[in-house]
């Protein structure tokens, strides 16, 4: 059953040094506040996993939390590059393992399903299998078609942000729900930050519900997705994403941002 606790306690319990950890969120509901707490607690040697590492992962990488990144698209959506990520790859301090979105999504599905691998049609002609040897061909036992297999993406920990939880720790999220359900179900430990803790979860169209018994920690963190957003609670702070480009580009501006975070 999920325990409702402070963000600091939840992060200390769920995200450990050396973890393979995903902070998921597809533009919407990105758990920024939890990621910032990981930076404050100075987690190290993390293997960061995410389909779309964006500004939060730029921050975690720049702060020295990550050893490795497993991903499918690393950029600042609609703005450009992530300069801390780019610098870390170009100077060889960050190991990477990369896939297409379809492959990453299916790796989560396989892990959530308790399977060792996932199968998809894949994309003939891409060079990705030459640099990511775990993208492999597989022959369909029924039709003989050659398809693509990718391994299940099992996580030590998953961190997501949601709109609501009830007092028992059942979690509800809606709008663009990305791969958050799969990430939580793929993880040994999970943490959900929420905008609001309510007496009772009212049904919402298209909502995903994570029952309390698949979540370890819930923390009440209003605005915990900022500068990302929570449908029904906030809008995406596009200005911040645009401002991040200059901060990320300049190492000393980034160090200044980091000092402010630790204050």
């Amino acid at each position: 059953m999920a325990v409702i606790t402070s963000l600091a306690e939840a992060v200390a319990e769920v995200v450990r040094d050396g973890d393979t950890v995903a902070f998921e969120g597809f533009t919407h509901l990105i758990p920024f506040a939890a990621g910032h707490e990981v930076i404050r607690q100075r987690r190290r040697e993390l293997t960061l996993v995410r389909m779309t590492p964006d500004v939060l992962y730029d921050q975690l990488i720049g702060a020295g939390c990550a050893r490795r990144l497993v991903f499918s698209w690393g950029g600042n959506p609609g703005v450009g590059s992530l300069h801390r990520f780019r610098a870390a790859v170009q100077d060889g301090t960050l190991e990477i393992e990369e896939y297409s979105h379809a492959a990453m999504a299916n790796r989560y599905v396989a892990a959530a399903s308790g399977l060792p691998f996932a199968v998809l049609r894949g994309a003939p002609g891409t060079d990705l299998p030459s640099v990511t040897p775990s993208i492999r061909p597989i022959t369909c036992p029924f039709t003989g078609e050659v398809l693509t297999a990718v391994p299940a993406l099992r996580l030590d920990s998953a961190v997501v942000h949601a709109q609501r939880a009830d007092r028992a720790g059942n979690v509800q999220l809606w709008g663009i729900t990305g791969v958050q359900k799969e990430a939580v179900l793929a993880a040994a430990r999970s943490l959900v930050t929420v905008e609001e803790v309510v007496e009772e979860l009212m049904p919402m169209p298209g909502a995903v519900v994570l029952p309390s018994w698949v979540v370890d920690r819930v923390a009440h963190v209003p605005g915990g997705a900022h500068p990302s957003y929570a449908d029904g609670y906030s809008v995406r702070d596009n200005d911040f994403y645009q401002r991040w480009d200059a901060i990320s580009r300049d190492r000393s501006a980034f160090e200044g941002w980091l000092r402010d975070l630790h204050r």
Binding site: F26, Y229, V235
Partner: protein, 228 residues
């Protein structure tokens, strides 16, 4: 009416989308062009974004593929595994509408690295949805500014084997010939074939029936500018 080269490119790209088509949209210029098409000649165009939004009808242009406007105006919002597995993979989508960092003469796209993979000169964002958008959509259209930096003779990395049926640039339009090599088939007004050759990193073939793109109409420009 005066217009910029980017506006000409966006309008030319929008015109390629037929009313009623189902279009998987990349962010940036492809998204702008797809929304322009929906607001002009193709009101029945179905826009799909990889964030899981199906049938989005945004009133303002999104900055990211997951802006709230895309979800709140969609016919359906589904999970990311579902958008790739149920909607893209089986071939339900007519047109994949993609951008590119680099493109070669066969229309292969690189959005991964410039330089060697293990010691990149420039690390780019990576694949995202593009490899499967390229391989699973019935056709692919690429929208990209044409320059020696983007139109290169040999890619450092093939992210997506797009084999586009059309490439729309700020200079003109390219289409594959029988061998799959991109040939210049249309020039935007005021652009010469030499301008296009000078912005291409391989000896660019020019179609014997080279045409000139119709300039943006006042109506197209008005809608395009209202989207900003």
């Amino acid at each position: 009416m005066t217009y910029t080269a980017d506006e000409m490119m966006t309008v030319a790209a929008a015109r390629t989308l037929a009313d009623g088509a189902v279009c998987f949209v990349g962010i940036g210029i492809p998204s702008t062009a797809a929304n322009l098409a929906r607001r002009t000649h193709a009101p029945g165009l179905v826009l799909i974004y990889e964030s899981g939004c199906i049938g989005s009808k945004p009133s303002t242009l999104p900055l990211s593929i997951g802006d709230g406007e895309l979800a709140s105006t969609a016919d359906a919002v589904v999970s990311v595994p579902e958008i790739f597995n149920y909607w893209l993979q089986p071939g339900r989508v007519d047109v994949g509408f993609l951008g590119a960092a680099q493109l070669d003469r066969r229309g292969n796209i690189n959005t991964t690295v410039i330089g060697p993979y293990s010691a990149p000169k420039v690390r780019l964002p990576g694949a995202g949805g593009a490899p499967e958008i390229a391989s699973c959509c019935r056709s692919v259209i690429v929208v990209v500014r044409q320059s020696l930096k983007t139109f290169v003779d040999g890619l450092d990395f093939v992210t997506s084997a797009a084999a586009p049926r059309m490439v729309i640039t700020d200079l003109g339009v390219l289409e594959p010939d029988d061998t799959g090599e991109l040939v210049l088939t249309s020039l935007h007004p005021g652009v010469s074939a030499d301008d296009a050759r000078a912005a291409t990193g391989w000896p660019l073939a020019v179609s014997p029936s080279l045409s000139v793109t119709s300039p943006p109409s006042a109506a197209e420009l008005a809608v395009l500018r209202s989207l900003r």
